[in-house]
Homo-oligomer: 151 residues x 2
């Protein structure tokens, strides 16, 4: 097999191949959903995924979007977050991260309020601060078992 262009790794292709390997079929609907997620810059609601996916597969139904998202979620390709109104947002795993806002280069720290819902924070913060958010970590603070006894 010769590859002339597009040597770059292709997420959609990789995932579809993986699906084949573990017994799932490569379908137009799955390709559509995966491609939408690949192109998205942030979190998408299922409805939005369906709307965008119809560009690639006009018959794409909302139910199938849900089923595909659940499948990809189980396989670890997409992360799920919860919006304030109770809906879910989905994004490919590399984007599914988040929390102090520190510049990797100059170590500037920007304070921001709110902490209850990560999902809703990321996009607004990017917009308001101009930061390009690349990753995030979760840090719990408290007392370890030993120190609890010494208190």
């Amino acid at each position: 097999m010769k590859i002339f262009f597009n040597m770059k790794v292709n997420m959609t292709g990789d995932i579809l191949q993986h699906l084949s390997e573990i017994g799932y079929r490569q379908t137009r609907t799955r390709r559509a959903v995966i491609r939408v997620l690949e192109e998205a810059q942030g979190w998408l609601r299922p409805e939005e995924i369906q709307a965008r996916g119809k560009h690639y597969c006009p018959s794409l139904g909302l139910v199938t979007v849900y089923r595909t998202l659940n499948l990809l979620s189980k396989l670890g390709y997409v992360g799920r977050v919860h919006f304030e109104d109770g809906c879910h947002g989905y994004a490919r795993t590399e984007l599914a991260h988040g929390h102090h806002l520190v510049c990797r280069s100059c170590h500037q720290v920007v304070e921001f309020p709110g902490w209850e819902d990560l999902s809703m924070l990321i996009e607004p913060i990017e917009r308001e601060t101009g930061f390009l958010i690349e990753d995030h970590v979760l840090g719990l603070m408290g007392l370890c078992p030993v120190c609890q006894e010494e208190e």
Copy 2:
């Protein structure tokens, strides 16, 4: 007014007083919900709050639990998280935090996997590590606008 015992600040009382001050009424149902939250060690689902609240107010309805939680949430007394199955969990604000696991006293750091859903992490981690989790912070990492241009 004399206070002989229990000089300690009382959350339930504080909140109820605040409610009065801003025009809400002090009711048995609200007292029940607040007290349940005050006594809880972690996140509670509305149903569980109702069940525990009936101990203090037997007629407590689930609808009222929702309304009270929404009120307390707006006033900043409780935080809301989202469980994996789409339900919500509630806890008083001091508990509503989360993410590295660092001992306040010895600075030990415990690594743990997973980041998609904070809510489901806190309780299992407390159970598995024996840590008493008291607080958490969100830290976003990326590039600030200036550094983006220098790259």
